[in-house]
Every structure is written in structure tokens, then in C-alpha cells.
Amino acid sequence: MNDNIVAKGIVQDESLLWEKGKKGKEGFSVPKNDVGSFEVDSDLLGEGPDFPDLSEVEVVRHYTRLSQWNFGLDTGMYPLGSCTMKYNPKTNERQASLPGFAGSHPLLAEELSQGALELIYNLEQHLCEVTGMDAISLQPAAGAHGELAGMLIFHAYHQKKGAQRNKILIPDTAHGTNPASAALCGYKSIPVPSNEDGILDPKTVAELMDEDTAGIMITNPNTLGLFEDNILEINKIVHDKGGLVYADGANMNAVMGIVQMGKIGVDVMHLNLHKTFSTPHGGGGPGSGPVCVTKELEKFLPVPRVEKQGDKFILVDNRPDSIGKLHAFYGNFSILIRAYSYILTMGKDLKKVSQYAVLSANYIKEKLRGDFHIPYDRPCMHECIVNDKLQEENHVSTLDIAKRLMDYGFHPPTIYFPLVVSGAMMIEPTETESKEDIDKLIEVLKIIAKESKENPDMLKESPKFCRMRRLDETTAARKPCLTG
């Protein structure tokens, strides 16, 4: 085992604050009361909450210790496929905390919010440039919310045409949220099987596409990390039957500045600012999933819209065909600032972001050849998929490999997804990892492949070095304990 890749160190245990509290301990001094007392209606009185008494140092250590159990991008590599866990540059935080932004209020009058409105307007323009789409709303709060917005726009479009449709085609390599978003909008999702190359066959789409089908939701690159080579033909088939094409932009990190979605026939797509545009991802949000459309569909976008009139930015609500409001005010504004900061920082190098992301994934795939099975062996985009086929003879599974990776200080990749690959490990390094760190991940995976032959039982017992050993996921799911 190579010394410089082993995770080690002190990890403190920590009990619940309620278990640590002791009557009489104080964390702060209450200022002397300088107002007179007042009788409170007894109906408003009751038992206070059972807060533990603690000293300041106990509280600080408690939360510091908990934070040390956490693993994030500031800790190490997080190659979670289809999640684009790229580093979040600190300048984004600095811009978002500028007093003019941090202290702004959404109820301030337009003339006092010109800077914020300008940022929204400019960010929309930049994202139009990156995607090749014509108009964007920044309201949706996350990817699946953007998908729902897209489906509502599909619905509004067919409504306007005068004939509603009830089905949506969804490839088996699409993101898992796509069928859920379609179902939430009342559509029945029709699965489209991918072919032996892992992509869509236009013939299959043609067989399924009919006049009751509102359109197709394509993730491109798909969740096998492969570009849909037949996208032009597929989009034409869908359009010829009066349907619309939705592109799930979650994998946009592979094609920024390379594929103009508007030009290849995409009608609606969403972006994940918390993936592609380096805003914080995970931990429950907030996220941002802008919905992007063609000129023809612009009238359906959520209101209010930010428009420019001369030198002034105004909010426009009067859009009779709009699908309405999707979020309080204008979306998760503080996240928009971070994405805008990222775009201005990167400038035309955004194209290089995608090129490096794709290069990193292909490099990993080629280096793992021989140690891990590659189910779809062709050049990949920003993520690559290997599985546990070569480890099967030693009864070592993807789960064991993922658990063992934690012993070496890496967050595991996405596992058992996409469902079309048995035992999938979906590795997305992103462009922000250096070659040195990527080489460490490769080295560790090769060590694990070796361990699976020489010491499979040890892998079954991993992780060995983490604070918690192998958790009983089955009991956690069957009999969840939801209280402290």
C-alpha cells in the first residue's frame, strides 16, 4: 500500500448535545434586563423547549467534530457519475456576499434592484450563448424542477395547438427523474430501449412516436456517458409527428461550447447550475435548474420575466400564455450570483472545461482497462462506466469496491446506475481534478482490483478505516429509525 494515498488521522467521536448538557452550564451571558416586565396572557405560556445547557467550547467542538465527519469537495475527490461534483471556487462565495447582493430584498422596488435584475438578465443571455437556446427562465430551483417546468411548457404548447397528448418517450439511459417529472405533469412515460452501442436507434423511436405522444426527453450525453450520435435524426422523427424534444442538461458539462442544443433540434432543456456552473451541490440545496427554450416557446416561460427597456431592467408579468410562477420571487438568487461569477471567471475557457472533463473520463477508462470490465467500449464523454464483471469470480461486488474506496480517502462513484448495466460504477472526475489526483484514484482502483483477487474477504468487510464500518443498509431501509 502506497503511503501517500492512505487516509488516516484522528477522528473524534461525538455524542448528541442532549446527552452532553448539564444544568447550570452557560455558553453566553444574557445582557441585563433594562425594560420593565409585562404580564403575558397565560394562554401564550407553556413549557419551554428542552434545550441542553452547554458551554461555548462544547458547542464549538460539537459542530467542528461533526463537520470533520463530513466529506465534500473541499476534502477530496468526489467522482459521483452524472452529478458533476466539481470544485466550487471561493471567488463565487465572495461575489455572493457583496453587501449590495447579500443585503438586497426581493420586495425592494425595481428602481432599487437594478443591479440584481441586470445580473439575472445577463446570466440568461450568457446561458443562451452556452446552450444555443433563445430564451431562459432562472426560476426553477433544481434539475427536476426545471424538468417539470419543461413538461408544463410541453403541455401548454400542445394545449395552444388545440390537441392535448398523453405520452412521453423516455430512453432507458435517461436520468431517473425524467419519468417522474413527466408523470407529475400527468404524462404516461413510455420507455425506449437503447441499442447494443448504448445509444438510441432512430428506428426504435420511430416505432414508438405517434400522435398521442407529446415528445421525447433525452439525456445527452446519456447516463452511459455516451453521446447520442443519432440525435438529429431522432429529433426530426419527433418533430415530424408534431412532438417536442426535451434535453436533460444535467450532463452539459461534457458539451459546453461544443454542442449548440438549439441548432440540433432541442426545443426545451434545463441546466443544473449546481453541476455545470460550479454552485454548491448536495446537502439539500439550494440548487438552480434554469429552463431554456426556443423562440417559439418563449411565451410559455414562467413569469415574471426580466426585460431591458432602454438602460433600465423591468419585471414583466403580463404574459397570458405563461405557465405561471414556479418559485417565490425570481428563483434562488444567491445561487445565480455564484453561477454568473463562474461564467465571468472562465470566459471562453468554458469550452476547455468540457474538453478537459471529457479527456479526464476517457483517461480513467483507458487506464482501468484490464482491471475492470468496460461494458460499452467506445469513447465516452464526461463520465465512464465500468462494472464488477471481472470481480464476480471472486464474489466481490461493486458495493464492496465502493466501500473499499473510502478506506483510501475517495468518495465512491455512483453505483448500480444506470440500470442497463449490471453492477455499474459510473465515474465522473470533472475537469477540476488534477492529473495527479486522477492518477491516485486509478492507482487505488487497481489496488482494489488486486485485493479482490488476493483477499476478497477483506473487501467484504470494508471500510476498515472509516469512522463507521459497513452499515446495515437493509435494516435501515426496512425499519428506519427516524428519531434521535
Binding site: H395, S397, L399, S422, E473, T474, A477, R478
Partner: protein, 131 residues
């Protein structure tokens, strides 16, 4: 993971490409998942049932299985009406792992008996697995 020759597949059941089995039970049919399916899915933690009285076409999704690895759709091998669901699985979904051939999921009244006859025999199913 089990080897193919370790799988327990009753002779008198019919099988589908989606790894479900069908067993005749009077004038109803029991539907379950095969030993292979439960082995691939891993520990099953939740079963989402249809309502009694719901009707489905052949190959339509009638419920879902959630395992520690993934959520999978259940496809009705023979079209018909749901007449009973196996409530024991609500509290003990693990029965699908421990006794896959006994733990039926739903009983249906088939709308077309010939659909049952056209399902795979044990031998055909095994050949597909070896495929």
C-alpha cells in the same frame, strides 16, 4: 451472486423475460419474482402494490420493488384484474428474498388464458439466462 445451476425454479411454473413467475391457483394466477431476480436485486426493502380491482394489460407495470440497489418495475405477465395482494410482504418484504417461489406478490384473474400458455417453461427461461 448465485450460479445458474444453484437457482431454484419450480417445474410447474411459467416464466417471463422480466424474471417473473406465474403459477396456476384455481381460476386465478399467482405472480412472483424468480430466484434469479431476487438474487440480482439484493435485499428487497419495499413492495408497492396495485389496488385490488385494478386491471392491467399484459406487460403493463403493476407495481414496483425497491431493493438496496435500485427500484424496479413489476410487469404483469398476463393481462387481467388484481384480485388479491400478498399483504404479508408489506411488513416482511424479505420473504421475496428468503422464499421467492412461495412469496407471490399478487393474484390475478386473467382476461385471456392463452397469454398464460404462451409464457416460457423453466427450460426456456434457463436457456435465456444462460444466453
Amino acid at each position: 451472486m448465485k450460479e445458474i445451476n444453484e437457482l431454484v425454479l419450480p417445474e410447474d411454473y411459467k416464466y417471463t423475460a422480466e424474471h417473473e413467475w406465474v403459477k396456476k391457483d384455481g381460476d386465478t394466477l399467482q405472480i412472483g419474482i424468480t430466484d434469479y431476480a431476487q438474487d440480482q436485486l439484493g435485499d428487497i426493502v419495499f413492495v408497492e402494490f396495485p389496488e385490488i380491482g385494478d386491471s392491467f394489460d399484459k406487460d403493463e407495470t403493476f407495481g414496483t420493488l425497491e431493493s438496496v440497489k435500485a427500484v424496479s418495475d413489476l410487469f404483469l405477465p398476463v393481462g387481467g384484474e388484481i384480485v388479491e395482494i400478498n399483504e404479508a410482504l408489506e411488513d416482511e418484504p424479505e420473504l421475496l428474498n428468503s422464499d421467492p417461489n412461495g412469496a407471490w406478490i399478487v393474484k390475478i384473474k386473467p382476461s385471456d388464458e392463452s397469454e398464460f400458455d404462451s409464457l416460457m417453461s423453466k427450460e426456456a427461461y434457463l436457456n435465456q439466462l444462460k444466453g
